[in-house]
Symmetry: C2
Subunit: 426 residues, 2 copies
């Protein structure tokens, strides 16, 4: 088939599933919490009951990907085990236990003419999720969308298609056991990239698109989508060690932010150090980081204070390494630190270590990012850690949601207006 034919086929699937999702979303919007929670628990049970089928499908996906020479990181994320399936089931149970955001009142006002205006949370409608070959996202995203009353259309990486299909069969069994329409959760099965393209253009059916994955995937979605997108995840995070920092605290925070889990978006990628403490702090932190296998890339002043540091290039200041690499820069002032972060950062999570009240407040006020920290590790930027219970992603854009997104961010509002004959005079 030629490219046009493939796109048409992908569009057909999106249109068909989009129509069904829209119809399902109308039912889901008025579903009671008790029913949604029952479905979530039944979905968890079904995942465990069908574990063998899911593992078998995953084995085929894994073998095919390995044979095609895919890399270690992809294979690691693709691989399912009984423990990982148990984790997916636990995730669904946790979501069932969270409060339902739908119906929550945002405001209620009585206007002078007697109109009562209620602003109330309602589901978004149909949510599209585009993600990579991580089958656990299939269950996680489906659970969160369902709890918030949305229908979801999933488009996972093609390497995980068999796994995703087996997982969705289990989720459907759970939905049906609870009497919930199975089109609440649908998976795009057309294997080509045309499938993602068609979903990104389906304004008629999809209310919001959330890409989950690496920088490449997210940039593609942001560039190509016609559907409103919530941009997630890219994190070029900084820690600024100020002149008045408690240096032992700074050392702990820097080690944690860089080393505790370097492959995630809230890990630190650049360390900024105030010139007044650079001579004391840098040799110390360099030794501690090198013991943990971290490669340092520094500005000239860093290179002068620490032996054998590679020079940092302009690209390093922009880099999201997701690895045991750290860019290091000595700055003259708080202002220079803030300006550096606002120039090179990705507006995700930024921290200052200081004991100066004014510096702390200025950093919180003037750094333009979703999450700004004083005296803590950027690794806390996470729905779980923020107390949201679960997370659909971390938004780095400013529209709709910013920072860790939980169930509330999967809703919108509706104005319900109660009158008794009011008409407008002017």
């Amino acid at each position: 088939m030629d490219v046009t034919g493939l796109l048409e086929k992908a569009e057909q699937e999106v249109a068909e599933k989009g129509r069904k999702a829209q119809a399902a979303s109308r039912q889901l919007a008025v579903l009671r919490s008790a029913v949604k929670d029952r479905a979530l628990l039944a979905m968890a049970d079904a995942l465990l009951a069908r574990q063998e089928e899911i593992l078998e499908a995953n084995r085929k996906d894994y073998e095919e990907a390995a044979a095609a020479g895919r890399t270690g990181a992809l294979l690691d994320r693709l691989k399912l085990t009984p423990e990982r399936i148990a984790g997916m089931a636990r995730g669904l149970r946790n979501v069932a236990a969270l409060p339902d955001p739908v119906g929550e009142g945002v405001s209620r006002t009585v206007r002078p003419n007697g109109l009562v205006i209620e602003e109330v949370r309602v589901p978004l409608g149909v949510v599209g999720i585009i993600y990579e070959a991580r089958p656990n996202v299939t269950a996680d995203a489906a659970g969160l969308c369902l709890k918030a009353g949305n229908a979801v259309i999933l488009r996972g990486g093609h390497e995980a298609l068999r796994s995703n299909m087996a997982i969705v069969r289990a989720l459907h069994a759970g939905l049906e056991a609870a009497g919930v329409v199975r089109e609440a959760v649908q998976l795009l099965e057309f294997p080509g990239r045309e499938s993602a393209q068609a979903l990104m253009r389906a304004r008629e059916y999809v209310d919001v698109l959330i890409p989950r994955g690496g920088a490449g995937l997210i940039q593609t979605v942001v560039r190509e989508a016609r559907v409103p997108v919530i941009e997630t995840g890219v994190g070029n995070c900084h820690t600024f060690v100020d002149a008045t920092a408690d240096l032992q605290m700074a050392l702990n925070i820097v080690i944690n932010a860089k080393c505790q889990r370097p492959s995630v978006c809230n890990a630190m990628e650049t360390l900024l150090v105030h010139k007044d403490v650079a001579a004391t702090f840098l040799p110390q932190v360099a030794e501690a980081l090198r013991e943990r296998g971290v490669e340092l890339r520094g500005c000239p002043r860093t290179q002068a204070l620490v032996p054998d540091v590679k020079p940092a290039t302009e690209e390093d200041w922009y880099a999201e390494y997701l690895d045991l690499i750290l860019a290091v820069k000595v700055v003259d002032s708080l202002e220079e630190a803030i300006a550096h972060i606002n120039r090179y950062g990705s507006r995700h999570s930024e921290a200052i270590v200081t004991n100066d009240y004014t510096a702390a407040q200025r950093f919180l006020d003037e750094v333009d990012a979703a999450c700004v920290y004083v005296n803590a590790s950027t690794r806390f930027s996470d729905g779980e850690q923020f107390g949201l219970g679960a997370e659909i992603g971390i938004s780095t854009q400013k529209l709709h949601a910013r920072g860790p997104m939980g169930l509330r961010e999967l809703t919108t509002v509706k104005f319900r207006v109660y009158g008794n004959g009011q008409v407008r005079e002017s």
Copy 2:
């Protein structure tokens, strides 16, 4: 110059003004309310002080547009008068009197590890507004964006360019008198449509784009923009007169929703009538509407009950007439009314007239629209009428904002996290 050359020139202007806007936005984000309000009042004063200059510029715009054979509606909206300039000044003063949304706390939580997480309203950053030849939008949008701490880049219809330039000169004088950076408000002066195209693609500089205007403009922006967009304004609004409606109340509401100001997005475009009251209500309402010059287009059952009604086509059910035309349909049930609205409506404002408790609640629950009404005119969907004080538009999308948008909708949030050395364990 060829098309590529024009686009490049437009892109240059957007890049240059975008950089300045971004720099200005950092200052505006931390500006005190008192300073912003002083600037708004000075901007109002400057509009009045420079009235002659503005009127003179507008006269040239008007003559050129008239000579080019532009239509009555465009000319009417383009035309400035001393009264209209006074109205713009009054608008700015009203915005100064509104509470500042910036800094408002959304939530504060203390996590088990002692981290304090504050969710706080902050400005969006740089807002782009694309609008038609309505010079009053220049002052209105600038005032609202400034109050919410945002820098704004304005791109108005080219027919109003001289007027807009004169207005922005006055606004700059006001900003400067209050000691606020003049790049808080910038106007794109490149006259071609390439200017709007460049602004729509300026992801690097613009955080949010809000189109204000007719369906054509909004569809173009939604289709072409790479910057996140808030879709506003298209209104195919319905009123459903239920079997239990107080028919006198229904008559008042229908007349108001259709006739009080037919050219606006919250005016009614389709009337749905329950079959049980159609024979009584339709002849009555048809007479009242025809007295007011309304043309009716009806379904076959409507045609059978009211003489001389043109047949409504499929296009009529989708139409936003913005004129004294009304589509009319008799429906068998509440369910049919809801299904019709969810199929053909534009998710703006929808009303039911009823005295049936269950019907009212089902309509409010099941109709998918920004504003849903019981026993009131859809004409109330408006920032002023909802008590927001002022309005930047009415969102018909679900992301970020839905329904009338005031100052709060021109902000986003930021998580400010206070620690004392916390690092993440798992």
